[in-house]
């Protein structure tokens, strides 16, 4: 599963993207954030307030409760500030 990071999430983790293989217990987008958060200091910093993180699965906004089953590309980013 490809993970993309944007804005300060990207800066804190120090990567624009990576490929991960979460265990079967990681079912939802929110589970994925929690699982990534435990991967190291930089992840813990990026996801220090998991509730503010926005998530897109295959380029569609989803809630933290959405299943990641079958997802090819998951993007994690702060609230958007375009326009």
């Amino acid at each position: 599963m490809k993970i993309l990071y944007f804005a300060w999430v990207r800066e804190r983790i120090g990567k624009t993207e990576e490929v991960v293989e979460p265990p079967p217990s990681v079912r939802t987008a929110g589970d994925l954030v929690t699982w990534l958060k435990a991967r190291g200091e930089e992840y813990d910093y990026a996801f220090e307030r998991p509730e503010v993180i926005r998530i897109a699965i295959d380029q569609l906004h989803v809630s933290h409760g959405t299943s990641i089953e079958g997802a090819r590309e998951v993007a994690l980013f702060p609230p958007m500030t375009g326009g």
């Binding site: 804005a7 300060w8 993007a75």
Partner: protein
């Protein structure tokens, strides 16, 4: 009826008069053209530039989705949305929305709706670069923008 919808995400500036002409030329059924241009502010002469990061692919797709909601909701004849990315200096345009319709209400409402949704749903993030050479922080999402979006009800 076919509604002309144009979405572009680009680093280059755009020509508002040209974009208006593209939606109106050769037609005599359009009574109203509303444009919204969002410009980079210097925030009291502090900023040298805003850097706009975006999620390529999703940015275009999300704007297209929001535009299609507007097309279903108001009798618009055409919609154009152009959103820039990269470094943008104060005074320069960041975003353009053009909406055309027979009567003014549809064009005003569709343009306002598109802007509210772009602000809170299109995957763009602004970072401040200051005149003193320091990189400021990422711009925080404004509560007012989320409130502005909510006034349109559930439009997904």
């Amino acid at each position: 009826m076919t509604v002309s919808v144009t979405i572009r995400v680009q680093a280059e500036a755009f020509d508002i008069a040209l974009e208006m002409e593209r939606l109106t030329i050769g037609r005599t059924d359009i009574g109203a053209v509303v444009t919204f241009s969002g410009l980079c502010r210097s925030e009291g002469d502090i900023l040298a530039a805003l850097e706009l990061e975006h999620y390529p692919g999703m940015a275009e797709a999300e704007i297209e989705r929001v535009a299609q909601v507007a097309v279903r909701r108001w009798p618009v004849l055409g919609l154009t949305v152009i959103h820039r990315h990269g470094m943008i200096a104060p005074g320069e345009p960041i975003v353009l929305v053009v909406a055309t319709s027979s009567h003014r209400n549809a064009a005003f409402e569709a343009a306002s709706f598109l802007m509210d949704f772009l602000k809170t749903r299109a995957p763009f993030w602004k970072k401040e670069h200051r005149k003193d050479g320091t990189v400021g922080g990422w711009v925080d999402a404004r509560e007012a923008d989320t409130d502005a979006m909510r006034r349109w009800g559930d439009s997904q």
